[in-house]
Symmetry: C2
Subunit: 321 residues, 2 copies
């Protein structure tokens, strides 16, 4: 089994260890990340750039891929497996959504082969085609595959621009919910009156306390978000709070609103696998613990690499050995 | 008593009827509205412009006022009473906030006289200087005075960029809550991924249904706003909803979230006076009724005029007769 919790697994001692087997690509809306992978899931080399789907929709996908393959050492003969927005309708070619409930270990069945040089395939996203709770993901499904063992039952939280909470039962994605947490943080701090209530410089020494205050306020009264937002501004006007703490407090409010709602949908008794990176991962880990969740942290890039490797083994395993 | 529910009251048959007594000004962040008023609260002439506080903070307040007084017919000798952001710290002169609980019929005691030509005074705003629920208003307090009789007990809802819900007991403002409803609508439709989910052209024939759907979703699950927002986008991607209905649905979601939270704070058993204008007033009236509130509608400009008249009578009543 591929490890899920460590970035530094020991390569197995067999003939394929250390040998490039395929190229893994996470091709998002505004970024390209590619890795030269061994058959057992280790990244031998990495390439990254800003040529996401939005860029390539006009500039073309094939030249960008060729350029990155060259940067990986001219591995044009290896198969390439892609996840993410490159498979959207407005992407390279559409890899139509699988519909919930759907087994993660069957993701590769939905892969679409691109009509281009070499063997290039794109994994599908997952849709919740339910009129009462419509939702979609592209890219996260591959991370889910990466961080779950075949019979896994539990919750996965993937924070970000559009945070995902996913309920998985016996290895199948049963339901999920997307929260606009990161995007709201961005538009509110850039375009609303609260741009005067945050300080984009280094966080204040009291930022941790401010984050916890905002978090607790949201956990206690998640329906009050749109009032709590204005309250943040009023508290500064009246001298109760400092502008230097505004960013952390707003972050706590938005993350707390998400976690409170997810907790009421999915319950807090199941362990949560948190897929994240950097400061955001740390904020969520602390917030989830405060909300009573039992959390295991998984690095986001390793999750993508593991998921792509599992699917690649299904597609090309015979030629890897 | 000044009427609160009608835009067209009959002037009383006395000697002051029809005679200009003072100039009433609602001076907001980005607009100026002035009226030549009789002592019994009728507007004889009107002037309006885009020279709000933000404009005047650099261009100066006195010349803008002089210009509008000239447009009203050269009434430089009449006293002028101003409400709104002109009294903010960054305004013309600061009219410091009164603190809750505060009697509405004592608003005029907080009026600040401006060191300028003529008798020009600015009414104060109201602050809720409570560290657990800090909040501020400027301009709305004058509307509250305008729409309530001296012993009034009940709720007032003032929808807008920053919607206010105000609990008034025996003519005193006891507590209030501001919701960033209108501003969130604006930044989300202009700057988030949902700009692709709304259509700024004429509303679709099904807009009313879409508004009610969004409203009901928020009333049922107000803590889920940040998920419902993404869901709106996903529903269109999956073909469940139309882009033409996106604006109405988003509006329903945000207004419903506000009303659900206000209802849980203040209860739904008290009658609500709704101060509004135009399409927004109609949306709120329908939403409040759907949420079980008993609503009376008051025109926003008449509310400002009435409040300014009540305060003006306290300040200069002796010279009006």
């Amino acid at each position: 089994m591929l490890g899920t919790n460590s970035c530094h697994e020991k390569p197995e001692q067999n003939v394929t260890a250390g040998k490039p087997a395929f190229v893994a690509v996470d091709w998002g809306t505004s970024s390209f990340r590619g890795w030269l992978m061994t058959a057992d899931g280790n990244a031998l080399a990495e390439t990254r750039g800003p040529e996401g789907m939005l860029h390539c929709a006009t500039a073309g996908f094939a030249p960008v891929l060729a350029d990155h393959l060259a940067r990986l050492g001219g591995m044009q003969n290896l198969p390439v497996l892609i996840c993410g927005m490159a498979g959207a309708r407005q992407g390279w070619i559409e890899a139509p959504y699988l519909h919930t409930p759907t087994r993660l270990d069957a993701l590769h069945d939905g892969a679409q082969r691109v009509d281009t040089q070499g063997d290039v395939r794109i994994l599908p996203g997952i849709a919740q085609a339910d009129a009462a709770a419509p939702d979609v993901m592209r890219g996260e499904e591959t991370q889910l595959l990466g961080v779950t063992e075949p019979g896994f039952t539990g919750l996965v939280c993937i924070p970000g621009t559009h945070s995902k909470w996913v309920w998985i039962e016996s290895g199948s994605v049963v339901s999920f919910t997307t929260y606009m947490t990161g995007e709201l943080f961005s538009v509110i701090t850039q375009h609303s009156i609260l741009k005067h209530a945050v300080d984009h410089d280094a966080p204040s020494p009291a930022a941790n306390d401010a984050f916890r205050d905002g978090l607790q306020r949201a956990l206690d009264a998640p329906a009050g978000l749109t009032a709590s937002l204005f309250s943040l501004r009023a508290a500064q006007l009246l001298g109760f709070q400092q502008q230097a703490d505004g960013t952390a407090r707003l972050s706590g409010l938005l993350i707390g609103t998400e976690i409170a709602d997810a907790g009421s949908r999915y319950g807090t008794r199941h362990p949560v696998r948190l897929i994240g990176a950097g400061a955001l991962k740390d904020l969520y880990a602390s917030a989830l613990a405060a909300a009573g969740f039992d959390v295991t942290i998984v690095d986001a890039e390793r999750a993508s690499q593991h998921g792509l490797t599992k699917a690649a083994i299904h597609l090309w395993g015979a030629q890897f050995t």
